[in-house]
Each structure stands twice: as C-alpha cells, then as structure tokens.
C-alpha cells in the first residue's frame, strides 16, 4: 500500500463543520486582547488594570510602571509575535509537506538555530542579539534543508514517518553538539540556557528589532503564497495543470517557514509544539481554506504563547518556568493524537 508522495493526506475532516473565518478571527482578537491585558497585569507582582493603562499612556517612572512598560510589555509583544510566527510557520510547513506532524521543533529546525547561535557565542564570541538573529536563522535553514533532503532521498520518498525519523536523527546530533560546545565553554551556558528551552525572559525591543525584518518578510511572503498554495493542496499534478509552478511555490514557502521559525527561535529559543497545536486547532475551527487558516493560526499562536507565558510566570512564582515547558504540555496531547492518527488516516 505504498503511496506516492503526491497523494494528498487527509489532514483533517473538519471542513464540513468549519466556522466562518471572520467570526473566529473576531473571537480570537478579543481573546488576544484579554490575554495581553492579563499578561501585563499578572506576574510576580500584580498590577491593577488602571495602573497598566496609565503606565502605557502616562508613564511616570514608578516601579509598577517600569514593570509594565519596560519588562512585561516587550515580553507580551515578543510572545505575540513569536506565537503568531510559529503558528503560521507550522501551518505552511504542514501544507507543503502534506504532513500533519511537520513542526519546526519536531524536525530539528530549532536545534539548528540553537547550534548556530551557541556556536557563534562560543567559537566567534558573538554576543549581541542583532548578530545572533541572522546566525540562528541560517542554522535553522540549513538544518531544515538537510532534514527534508535526507527524508526525501531514497525509494520510499517523503513520508511523514521518514520526515520525523530524519528530524529525530538530526535533532539528536545537533543537540549533542550544542551540549558538547557548552561543556567546552561553560561560561556561555548562562547565555545559552534560553536557547535550550524556549523562554521569553530575555525579551527586549532590541531583539525584536533585529528579528523584525525576517519576520515581516516571512509574513509578506506567506500572504503572497496563499493562492498558489491553495491550488497546490489539490495535488501536485492538478496544480501543475492549473499553471502553478509547484517547485517555485514550495521553495518560496520553505523560505517563508525558515524566516518565520528561525526568527522566532532567535527571539525566544525553541518554544515547542506551538507550530503543531495551533494549526491543528485552527483547522478544526475554520477548516482548511488557507487564507482564514493562516490568519487564525497567527491569532491563536499569539494567544497560546502569551497565555503559556503567564502560567509559566505564576505557576512556581517567584521562580519562573520557561514558556517552552508550558507549550510542550499543551501541545503534547495534540501531538500524540496526530501521531496516533497520522499512520492510520494516510
């Protein structure tokens, strides 16, 4: 029962009970506003809503205002940006590989970024975020490329299992190399910790500014690709018949994925399973039409990461868990569900 790689995989059968896109987006935007507000208020110390508003509109330098405007605001904004990018990157990745399990962290892309960043720090002594961002994106791109090429080579072609096993092998190697580098230069461990587990602790406007060009480029590119990718979902042959240049489309989508996933890893480290859980939930909500799907993914991703970060901040206060742990726990049931079904439904 071998399947050619161009057979579309039923990613979900939820299309028939899809909700209208604008309705979901409005609900999502409302939820985003609520969690963003909560993200500014909650934490080691609680700041009341009126104080949050005055901190944003009439900053007076009091401790509460500093907490809100200088610590929590960048954190919430970076969280939203990272979540949205990862959600969109996951949806794009699943669309081009037709693999319900494709996800930046599962495929070792995050470890590629981490290795490049840690390597840059340890070997070349690069310490500034602005310099690390392109490095991390380059690492993510190389790792992703290697995995896809390796998984696609060979008689069986690019099946979900092959992709995941190739990802596991490359992740294992990259993770070991990162750990080896950290042992060789233990001082960089302090800096590197956030590359190991996704965390928004170091979120700053500088870092966001450094990553912004890549994230914006990735977003614009994905928006431009909605039409050809929707056609591509009908299968490579059909799409080709309809005049879509399949190779170019997939390549451009891969570039968008790398820019989005690499940029967010550069900002916050690997915040795992957001790119899996979010598109899955979004598909259940709005169906598989790519335009509303990508927008819903962006909103839901932002909501998920901000929410996870709030829980990570207050769960073991005054200590802080990395947000990656929370998203891992949220994403795990989705991942297991898809993994269980992935083999059955193909």
């Amino acid at each position: 029962m071998s399947s050619s790689p161009s057979t579309p995989i039923e990613i979900t059968r939820a299309a028939e009970r899809a909700l209208p896109g604008p309705f979901v987006l409005m609900l999502g935007a409302a939820a985003l506003a609520v969690v963003a507000g909560a993200g500014l208020m909650l934490g080691a110390s609680t700041v009341s809503a009126p104080q949050v508003v005055s901190a944003l509109t009439a900053f007076d330098g009091s401790p509460e205002h500093v907490t809100v405007a200088d610590v929590r605001l960048p954190r919430v904004v970076v969280g939203a940006v990272v979540g949205a990018s990862l959600g969109v990157a996951g949806a794009l990745m699943q669309a081009i590989t037709r693999n319900p399990l494709a996800e930046p962290s599962l495929l070792g892309v995050s470890w590629g970024a981490a290795l490049a960043a840690v390597g840059g720090q340890v070997v070349a002594g690069i310490g500034t975020t602005a310099a690390l961002v392109p490095l991390a994106i380059g690492g993510a791109a190389i790792a992703g490329l290697v995995i896809v090429v390796l998984a696609a080579t060979g008689r069986a072609g690019l099946t979900p299992e092959r992709l995941i096993v190739a990802g596991a092998a490359v992740s294992g190697l990259l993770a070991a190399l990162v750990q080896g580098l950290l042992v060789l230069d233990s001082e960089s461990l302090e800096v590197a910790r956030r590359w190991l587990a996704g965390s928004l602790t170091g979120a700053s406007w500088d870092a966001l500014a450094a990553a912004a060009p890549y994230l914006v480029a990735g977003t614009v590119l994905s928006a431009c690709l909605i039409r050809p990718l929707s056609t591509l979902a009908l299968g490579d042959d059909v799409a080709r018949g309809l005049g879509v240049r399949t190779g170019l489309t997939k390549g451009a989508a891969a570039v968008a994925v790398v820019a989005l996933a690499g940029g967010s890893v550069a900002l916050a480290g690997p915040i795992i399973l957001v790119g899996l859980a979010v598109p899955h939930a979004a598909r259940a909500l709005v169906g598989r039409d790519l335009a509303p799907l990508l927008m819903t993914c962006a909103v839901l991703g932002a909501v998920l990461v901000i929410l996870s970060d709030i829980v990570a901040r207050i769960a073991v206060a005054p200590e802080e868990l990395p947000v990656g742990v929370m998203t891992a726990l949220v994403g795990a049931p989705v991942l297991l569900h898809v993994a269980r079904r992935g083999v059955m439904s193909g």
């Binding site: 096993v165 092998a169 294992g172 190697l173 990395p322 297991l336």
Partner: protein
C-alpha cells in the same frame, strides 16, 4: 496508507550459526584489547603491559593507581552502560519488529532520564544506588505511555516510532525547562553534561549501582531470546508455537525499560548505542536472538569504551560528554539507514 518506516530485520541471508563462536571470540578479543589500551590512554600514558600488570594486582607498576582507581571504574561503568543499552536495543527491535526501535527513539531513555533528573533536582541527598530504580520507573512509565498510546487493535512499528519520538521530544522539553530554571550554574552545567550522556567522574559507587541490575537482567533477557525468535516470525506463527504473544511483549518491554533505565541512571541518555550495536551484530551473526544478544552486548560495551576514550582525549583536558561522540557517529548512521531506502513499504 502511508508506507511505514520499516527496515527489514533480516537483510543478509543468515550467515549461519557456524560463524557465531568465531564472531564472539573475535568481538571479545577486540573488546578486551580496547579495554586495556584505553585504560592506558590519558594525561598519564600507561603502556598496555603495565595496564595488565596493574589490573592483575602487581603493585609498583607504573601508573597503577591511575589505572585501577581512576580509569578502571569509569571504563567498567562505560561497558555496563553500553551493554545495557545494546541489550535494550535488541529486545526493543525484536519485540516491535522494527529496526529503528531503540531506547532513545521510543521514549524509553527520555523517560528514564526525566525521572532521574527530577529525583536529582528534588532529592539531591538520595544515594546513587537508588537512582537506577527511579530511572527504571521513569522508563517503564514512558514505555507504557508509548505502547498504550500506539495501541490500536495491535501495535504497529511505525506508530510506535512516531509516538515514541513525540514522547521523547516533550520529555526533553520539560527536562530542559527544569534545568534552565535551576539557579546554581554549576548544577545546571552538570545536568547539561548528564543530558548529553556522560560517564565523566563515574566511579565505584556508580558501578555498584548499575552492575547488579545488569547481572540480573542480562540472564533474564537471555532466557527470553526464544520468545524474541518466535515473535520475529509474526504474531500468528508465534501463537502457533505456543507463545502468549502479548504477555511475552509486556515482559520484554519491562526488561528493556529496566536495561535502559539502569544505563541512563548512571550515564544519562547516551544515544545511538542501542540502535547501532544490534544492527552491527545482526550483520555478523544473523537474526537468531541468542547469538545476536551476546554479540550486541559485547559490541555495545566496546563501542562505549572507545567512544568514551575519544571523548576523554579529543579535547583534553576538557571531557566532552561521551554522548556527543556516539551522536556524531550514530546520527549519520541512522540517516544512512533512512536514505539507503532499506525501508519496506508495507
């Protein structure tokens, strides 16, 4: 149906049992030679002759203290870890009939490691001898989760693999989160080393913790090789041969979890030894599980010895975790398996 990642278990025509004694003797000799030579290598170089003299208790030999008190226990721990992981690999590959089933891919190592880390972090005063039991519990829990979640009217190799990789990813994310929240940097750096898999600084107490487990488990596995042989023929045939298939699977899974658990407890989740050793052994002695187990155990121990010697010497005086070396060798091997297309479309 998507073609599964199933690699043929018995690629070469079985070379016949006539070769087995020869292979076993050769492997033992190579292992022994590696043992003697690597014991002599390091900051203080000791000639093999002096190593042997020191080992048989002749006092006054050059470097006797270095050999018997510093390097010997560490080398023995490395042997035990390699043997345990290799045996776990044989059992897992046999019971799932999937050549990619290895403790590090099925979540068994991740479970053992997560449990060990939590015990180390939460109860730092616990004696090392209890750690294997805790890691065993973790490994057992993880295997139960993986096995249970991939159960759908029987198990399938590729589903086990997907769920196993999923559980591994989530497990490591959670552990990394815990590690990155630990305040003391030294503690965190030890845990990072442990995460890559390392026998640095392991001595007699660690050997005392792991060796008794192996002394009990290896004979038990050896007694189960007939079940493994029967399972290799497929469930219906195994049933016809009078094997209670699911009961045998369960027993074997517990054994594999215990083997991987005790190895991971002292050395961390060293990767790819449990994958590679059975593969090499299968090429040497064929698929009958008795000779396969013996050869794999010898090979696993030898691989770990050599890998650890490389890890000690490559960047001396810094000790690189041995898991980095096994990953550098093992990950390309796994990818090669994948690319070679030795996969069997179902």
């Amino acid at each position: 149906m998507i073609s599964g990642v199933r690699i043929r278990l018995f690629p070469a025509p079985a070379p016949g049992t006539a070769r087995t004694p020869l292979v076993l003797i050769t492997t033992s000799l190579v292992g022994l030679a590696a043992f003697v030579v690597t014991l002599g290598l390091g900051e203080v170089t000791v000639t093999p002759v002096d190593v042997v003299r020191a080992l048989i208790g002749q006092t006054g030999a050059d470097g006797a203290f270095v050999v018997t008190e510093l390097r010997l226990p560490r080398a023995l721990v490395a042997c035990c870890v390699g043997a345990g992981l290799a045996a776990a690999g044989v059992v897992l590959q046999g019971l799932t009939r999937n050549a990619l089933a290895a403790p590090e891919l099925l979540g068994v190592s991740a479970g053992a490691y997560a449990a060990a880390i939590f015990v180390i972090v939460l109860l730092p005063d616990l004696p090392i001898s209890v750690l294997p039991a805790c890691a065993f519990a973790g490994a057992l829990a993880a295997s139960a989760v993986v096995y249970g979640l991939s159960w759908r009217r029987g198990t399938s190799g590729s589903r086990l693999l997907l769920v196993g990789i999923a559980v591994t990813t989530v497990g490591y994310a959670v552990v990394l989160g815990v590690v990155s929240t630990i305040d003391e940097l030294i503690h965190a750096s030890q845990l990072v080393t442990f995460m890559a898999g390392s026998v640095y600084g392991r001595g007699w107490p660690e050997l005392g913790a792991v060796a008794p487990w192996l002394a009990v488990l290896l004979p038990l596995v050896a007694l189960s090789t007939r079940d493994l042989d029967a399972l290799a023929l497929g469930d219906p045939v195994a049933r016809g041969l009078g094997v209670r298939v699911e009961a045998a699977r369960l027993r074997l899974l517990v054994l594999a979890a215990a083997l991987a658990g005790c190895a991971v407890a002292v050395a961390g989740p060293v990767g790819f030894v449990g994958l590679m050793s059975p593969h090499i052994a299968r090429r040497l002695v064929g698929g009958a599980h008795g000779p396969l187990l013996a050869t794999s155990v010898l090979l696993g121990a030898t691989i770990m010895l050599i890998a650890d010697a490389l890890a000690r010497l490559a960047f001396a005086p810094v000790d690189v975790p041995v898991g980095v070396v096994t990953a550098i060798v093992g990950a390309p091997y796994l990818l090669w398996l994948l690319v070679r297309g030795r996969t069997n479309p179902e």
